[in-house]
């Protein structure tokens, strides 16, 4: 292997803490079809360390109660735990204030919330700008917002036959007109693995008076993220992709914006006063959290923040970049492979996605599973980009803190066997 990559992985003061990471994740220690599990489907969802599972159990065994409206001991403890998690997430992304953290079910709900609330302020003639590499969850809600408001939806193109050129930043000059009211883009593509220059995109959105909305689903758990350094207006992410439980996610919004934003869902907990004729809303974050919140999973998300910060987020970024680069390098050697996204040496983190002319992604995933290797095959909720690239599906290997170089070797060996079986190698 490339010695530079190797030293990036194992050298430095962080070396020790990485050695024991796998022991933290109970699920990894199982066999699948008689082979040790090699879980390379982390872009779909990540596994949970013991500390996060324990946080859930502890909450339900000690502090469970409804929040906000209670004055008894359990309710106060539950409220403290819930609001503590909010403050913890605020710190995790360097938000100015905990009230800028709205708990949602995940990235998809976060984008829906902001898209619907912002749609109410848009008119015909306004433009919503997306990119051609958006996940359906950061695309369809904007299509709906455009439809509801009469605004137009436009796209920053992706460059290269394998999208290896990333976003066409040169096209931005023409696209980012003062008509653009929202610019929504992903931080890391879940299909290409490329890292977009989000600070620059936020800056340029601001320059024309457009709101910036970052889909951080693939980046939040894979490195540092500082919403104030980025100058982001809204940031959406999911807990389940960052070692947290399913069912919890976040919409970060700048306080000044949230105070003016209309609520999305309504009901108990988000109102100041209600009579039969109408209601008055609380300020953020409560305004956007109608009903009993997902208290336990929010608390466990706080534990996931602790876990990732203890590992070190710059180190996680280096680890996930090194594994992706190594996988890209080793996969390049396979006959007939077509690799998407940045070429070797490009800004890639956490995943590699690829296709063969003769062997379909589904067959690969089914065969790899027999070797214990968990991959994802399909359109990765990225149908328009797939179509643009002349594909219907790819196979994706995605990495996280517990993956190792050896697992990449298992992947490559498995792929070689599959290609041989289908007569392609």
């Amino acid at each position: 292997m490339n010695p530079a990559l190797h030293s990036a992985l194992v050298a430095g003061p962080a070396a020790d803490r990485w050695k024991n990471v796998r022991a933290d994740f109970p699920i990894l220690h199982q066999d699948v079809h008689g082979k040790p599990l090699v879980y390379l489907d982390n872009a779909a969802t990540a596994h949970k360390p013991r500390a996060v599972i324990d946080a859930l159990v502890r909450f339900y065994e000690r502090d469970n109660s409804n929040v906000h409206r209670g004055l008894h001991a359990l309710s106060m403890r539950a409220t403290d735990a819930y609001e503590g998690a909010r403050a913890r997430v605020a710190r995790f992304i360097n938000a100015a204030d905990p009230s800028e953290i709205i708990f949602t079910r995940g990235t998809t709900e976060s984008v829906n919330l902001v898209a619907r609330s912002v749609a109410a302020t848009l008119r015909p003639g306004d433009v919503i700008l997306c990119t051609e590499m958006e996940h359906h969850s950061n695309l369809v809600p904007w299509q709906q917002a455009a439809r509801a408001s009469g605004a137009t939806l436009e796209f920053v193109p992706v460059l290269g036959t394998d999208a290896e050129g990333g976003l066409d930043l040169a096209a931005l000059d023409a696209l980012l007109t003062p008509h653009v009211k929202v610019f929504a883009f992903t931080h890391i593509s879940n299909t290409l693995g490329c890292i977009n220059p989000v600070a620059e995109l936020c800056r340029r959105a601001r320059a024309v008076g457009a709101l910036s909305v970052i889909d951080a689903a693939q980046s939040i758990g894979h490195g540092p993220l500082d919403v104030r350094a980025l100058g982001a207006d809204y940031v959406a992410f999911s807990g389940h992709k960052m070692c947290g439980p399913t069912g919890i996610g976040v919409l970060y919004g700048r306080r000044a914006l949230l105070d003016k934003l209309a609520p999305d869902e309504t009901g108990g907990g988000m109102v100041v006063t209600v009579d039969y004729a109408g209601a008055k809303w609380k300020p953020a974050p409560e305004r956007f959290e109608a009903g009993t919140p997902n208290v336990a999973d929010a608390v466990a998300l706080g534990a996931a923040c602790d876990y990732l910060d203890a590992l070190g987020r710059p180190e996680i970024a280096r680890h996930d970049e090194a594994l992706a680069a190594l996988a890209y390098e080793k996969l390049s050697a396979l006959p007939g492979i077509r690799l998407l996204g940045p070429r070797a040496g490009g800004a890639r983190r956490g995943l590699v996605s690829f296709a063969f002319a003769d062997v379909h992604a589904h067959d690969i995933v089914t065969f790899a599973d027999e070797d214990g290797v968990a991959l994802r095959g399909g359109h990765h909720c990225n149908q328009p980009l797939m179509r643009k690239l002349g594909l219907t599906s790819t196979t994706r290997a995605s990495f996280y803190v517990y993956n190792t170089e050896q697992e990449i070797d298992v992947l490559v060996a498995s792929l070689r066997r599959i290609l041989k079986f289908f007569g392609s190698a």
């Binding site: 409220t79 100041v272 409560e286």
Partner: protein, 151 residues
């Protein structure tokens, strides 16, 4: 009864709760403000007659727990005759008392609310009347709700 609880429900507070001072509408008021604690439904109206920049007369009504009613009652006795800035400074001291439990010497009866600090969920009760008064002084037409403040 635990020490915390008897610290919370001091005699001064029980007394103001039973026999609130300055309770009722003020026919001569030239400023009015309404306060809401949306988590529990407590409400407090404050009526002021401002004479120049001083509170010449004050009264309150509404409904709420012993802490909120006693605090509003005691508040009226403390702010009468004071200017806006003086009331604000007094509120800052009161807020410090109910959140920290510390009781500086100069502040007489307000120190009775020091016990609130061990019941964080009750801080909003203790500050409701104050918020309404501060809003009335500002001539702020908007309702005061304890949710908008970071107590």
């Amino acid at each position: 009864m635990s020490a915390d609880l008897s610290e919370l429900y001091q005699q001064v507070i029980l007394d103001h709760n039973k026999r609130p001072r300055n309770r009722g509408k003020l026919p001569t008021a030239n400023r009015v403000a309404h306060g809401d604690n949306p988590t529990c439904g407590d409400q407090c109206n404050v009526y002021l007659r401002l004479d120049g920049d001083r509170i010449a007369e004050i009264s309150f009504d509404g409904s709420g727990c012993a802490i909120s009613q006693a605090s509003a009652s005691l508040m009226t006795t403390q702010v009468k005759g004071r200017t806006g800035p003086e009331v604000e400074s007094l509120y800052r001291q009161f807020h410090h008392i109910v959140t920290s439990g510390e009781t500086p010497d100069e502040i007489s009866d307000l120190a009775a609310f020091a016990g609130v600090h061990t019941f964080p969920a009750r801080i909003k009760c203790a500050t409701l009347g104050w918020h309404a008064t501060l809003n009335a002084l500002k001539g702020d037409a908007a309702d005061a709700t304890t949710e908008k403040h970071t107590d």
